[in-house]
Symmetry: D2
Subunit: 378 residues, 4 copies
């Protein structure tokens, strides 16, 4: 069996998804084979070249046309955030399975419409919170589900980058609210929200603060000296209560100098704790309260080799995986979802619930008070 | 010149202060010599034995008497928090210099009265935020003051312990509001508030959440099976805005399993960042934006040896200091303060401003909204 | 232009090479395209299935036949060590370019014959010391070549694994001298010899010790309870002098419990030092003596992003690479070598010089004294 | 009971011993109390000032006189290495207990004479390998003795400093063979030899290499521009076999740029491993093979708090100790030795056996071959 894919977009995320499609048959035997059918982009010449470089059989310039094609089973949306809703809903209506980059949408309303569309159409869907698929995170999930950490008291997570500290960095689409929805909060904050939701429980209340440190920047447009407004947050900090009673502390920033890609999470439970850092993503740090008193300490576990999640598909112990393998595992999961007709996570429901947190943080910021997530569900 | 000290209390903090008084003349040549004159405690036998063990010349059971003695220059208060105000005010009125453990008081009002008392009396005063005196923190302070980090955008600090995760741990005075004022917030949260205030700037607004995970515990009293209420926070999380525009994220917990004494702070500025962790307190981690592009990274600096703060008083490079040396440096500073008649930091003003943050966090928690610190100054 | 590859062997190394051939066109634009033409193995059914799974167009059971085929440009040898010499020499004589896994041969004499064969044939050749191609190692190389570390005084390197500590692990070909040549020394010790030679200089003298801790193990053959002798070293330790006057300390072991794949190297020069660890292969640790006195410390540099070697071909800063990318970079280099008709490193000359060190270590062990490498060159 | 101490020397080691004598009664209740009776040095004015600063009751300029005094129970020798033998032997003959800094002597012969002298006199004796007394090392010792690591296969240890990389550093007594015996080997190499002997077993054979990278340096004498020869090793590397069959790799250097005080040891056994680093001396890293397969990893154990060796005498968990506490624990042990009339370790026997290793390394270097330690015992 094979799944024919049409993908819209071919920048950073397009490359990450493409390498995943390419390599799934290599790492996973007897799996459903993705076919890199068509790559879609607005500029005919560019998309054609990208298709050739990344191994796509053909290219297309109109996504509306692509989603109607009979030789496409799965639509993969890696275009800017403001385009997600329209494409995903149309694809679902055309009976296609859908993979969509995160954040699912630029508004809570759109996220809800997208979820309703895929559910109505009965297609398989997935939102690309790829970090769930790091083997170390999968091990953490397993440990928490098995109760190895006991009742969870604390979640603290940061996603820290520093690519905006230079005031001369221009206003790209990622800094424009109408195209991206939110800034650090939606782009990277959504990843740590997802990890917390995945590993622990749903968030019930939040108190948030958004900040734009540098409010005007050079325009990305050519031939102009004018400054443009930055309309999204450079950084967001928020505290939360979880439904299970745990406390959460979150921070997403593009101004955390020296932090290139610092997605870090620590979870403390009554019986143990885990720590993880994306920049050393192969290692999980685990503390177990029931170790003998004088031998208690965080263990640094190299989650490679066959005893670990996905380990038998890769290399022997100590031969580490990289960033792209999180996508390989994610898209492998989507292949299984389609093959087995079982909805896997993270899907659009996760995308919607993630957007609900983002929305609540923004509302909390606006109102300068704690807000309940339940107030925004209708 | 010598300073004759009378100290009230002889538990953990009493030991830490005593070792400092003992060793100052050893490490610091030509300094004012503290004389361990009298140790004060309620139980005559116990205080007498403690005095002998820790090197105090005599002991006393009534602090009221001790603060009136002519052969005492400095009163050091290391008794439980609810006793600080009365003793400190009386000591100041008696013309004694005063050192007081943190948090300065159990209420903002008491902290203010204490500050007024020492200022009116014209005595020297200090509050024991000893972690300021780690050489690595002094180096961080110097770097920030010199502008090496540029404008500060982010402060994130945690103080994580785990000694309360066992539900059978009893209700000591540290879990009773009337005796301690607050829980994790005042006990350990106050230390990270102090580091942030010391290193960056004053906090202007806060949003806080306090939580008591285990609300009843065994009584510490003997011969009873009854449970007692825990009346302070097990954990506190709070977000802040600083007067200089920076964002702060703080967390203090006694339920952070696996974290023995995790006082950690990271500060990000436009030109660089620093990281510090009390459990490896000799090292400062420094990132400098103006390092050449391919050699940018956090440096691990072992802050021992003569080029570092206090370094010439201790050991050659790489021979690390421990916890108690923070107190040695703190009390050395107080000795200088008295000798030179110059008020050093952290003094009762810092203690008061620290209490203001604690108070605002508690108010924010009560009101479930952001509050301004300026609203609580009168 | 494309290069048609015939590869012999399809176990661990075969997989690593295959993923490299697959992905080179994806990561490197405008590069010579490897064509996965034929996979060769003795068992027809197994090799056919492996070819299909890993993306090879066809399979073959006789390497003698494959190396004569006109539709093959490059022979890649990933079969057991004792087969390297015969195949490589025949391939060279057939005018094929050759890639060979390390160690190049099982004896110094074979290594020399292989080098002579490729040189005589005028074909391109490479030996697979893939760790040279980690971006962090490439950065270290650049720094050392530019003189940023000054004169080198010390090299210390370990390659520590622990997969033999279980006495019930059976005698595979890697434990049999006639098939593998040497044990830990040639298998993993050769990698750290290569890193030292690459980064610093040639070794001139060695003193070595080899040890086989568990001398008999279960046979890998089925239906037997007999034990078999382990005829290679479980661990090797050796000290060296380098031609440039530096001292080297090396250790390779399969008995270093808790070390999964601990290939670690530290180099100290008069102006600076570097440290690297394969299990965190994306980071280079750099110390520079001319940093200001109070800011000296090892920097942890995440070598991802476009300012680093190969960085523009992969992901943005902080998105790490994995084990297989070292092979992608290595085989990309071989593609360039063939395209440009320029011999790149590490080639068979490196393989031979590496074998010379191995040989000298073994001789030193036998003689229980220091030996000069020059005594074994003829 | 109290022990009256006379100490010869008051530089770095003199300070370290003095702080230990000062603080033992504080940390250890009900212990034998050392009395800082007399400090001895050649320069009357300097020794008198040092005595006053460090808390010694009196000073003396002739050690020959001091060792005869009836009010002295224990002679502590912290003067340069070449003075150890004469003083220690005379002190023993005078019936005094003796503590001596390491290395015990400058020659194997002297070390033997010293050992014979103390044994003949029946006094208590100790050599100051203080790092044994770090709580983390004591925990490692306990684990190994209990068999928690099983049979030991590997020891690797380095002691790396960098204070000689500057060619303008002058020739002090530590660089002159007649006064110091050996260079890096005896000064810091002896510490790692001691840790290995203490934790594992005796060494049986060695192969060593000594190197002096910079052979001439400025004289330390004033008013001269002449260079002086460096007559000891800047760095030493040696491999060993232990009596229990384990392999050892050792390196001591003063040219390891960026390493301030890098005393690091790793031990691998069939059931587990430990790692330790003096610059983070409070932490022991422990790997246990019998942890469940997916949770195997090195634990970082903060060896503070009452469950750890010496922990009940210091601070609560997570409040770290520093360099000087190793001396406090060492001298406390000597106090117990004298009080209980039981010889504790490390004593002059350890000093002698350590010197035997040093001697064998030097002989191996001279002969350029492996040597057996047993050949140098007579």
């Amino acid at each position: 069996m094979s799944i024919r894919v049409g993908m819209i977009g071919y920048q950073f995320m397009g490359r990450a998804h493409s390498i995943a499609y390419r390599n799934i048959p290599f790492y996973f035997k007897n799996t459903t084979r993705p076919v890199l059918q068509t790559l879609c982009g607005r500029n005919s010449q560019n998309v054609s070249r990208a298709a050739s470089e990344m191994g796509w059989s053909s290219s297309e310039t109109e996504w509306e046309k692509m989603i109607q094609r009979e030789d496409i089973d799965l639509i993969d949306i890696v275009s800017p955030n403001h385009t997600h809703a329209e494409i995903a809903i149309a694809a679902a209506e055309a009976g296609k399975h859908v993979i969509c980059e995160k954040p699912l949408a630029t508004t809570l309303e759109d996220a809800k419409r997208m979820l309703e569309a895929v559910e109505k159409a009965g297609v398989m869907h997935m939102v690309c919170h790829n970090y769930r698929f790091a083997p170390a995170i999968q091990l953490a999930k397993k440990m928490i589900e098995e109760g190895q950490l006991g009742k969870i008291y604390h979640i603290r997570a940061v996603y820290l980058q520093d690519w905006l500290i230079d005031p001369s960095a221009p206003v790209t689409w990622r800094l424009q609210k109408e195209r991206t929805g939110s800034g650090a909060l939606g782009d990277i904050g959504s990843h740590i929200i997802d990890l917390a939701r995945f590993l622990v429980s749903e968030i019930s209340e939040v108190s948030g603060l958004l900040e734009t440190f540098i409010k005007e920047r050079p325009s990305a447009a050519e031939n102009t000296d004018e400054k443009e407004l930055v309309t999204v947050d450079d950084a967001s900090i928020f505290t939360t209560k979880f439904e299970n009673g745990a406390l959460g502390v979150f921070e997403a920033s593009r101004f955390a100098t020296g932090n290139r890609n610092g997605n870090r999470i620590e979870i403390n439970g009554e019986k143990g704790s885990i720590r993880w850092d994306l920049e050393n993503m192969n290692h999980l740090h685990v503390y177990l309260e029931n170790d003998s008193a004088e031998l208690q300490g965080f263990r640094t576990i190299n989650c490679t080799g066959e005893v670990y999640p996905y380990g038998e598909n890769y290399w022997p112990p100590g031969h580490i995986l990289g960033y792209e393998h999180t996508f390989i595992n994610l898209i492998k999961t989507m292949m299984d979802s389609i093959k087995n007709k079982t909805l896997e996570v993270p899907n659009f429901k996760d995308g919607y619930l993630n957007q609900l947190v983002i929305h609540a943080v923004e509302e909390s910021h606006r109102l300068k008070k704690w807000v309940k997530l339940s107030d925004y569900i209708n």
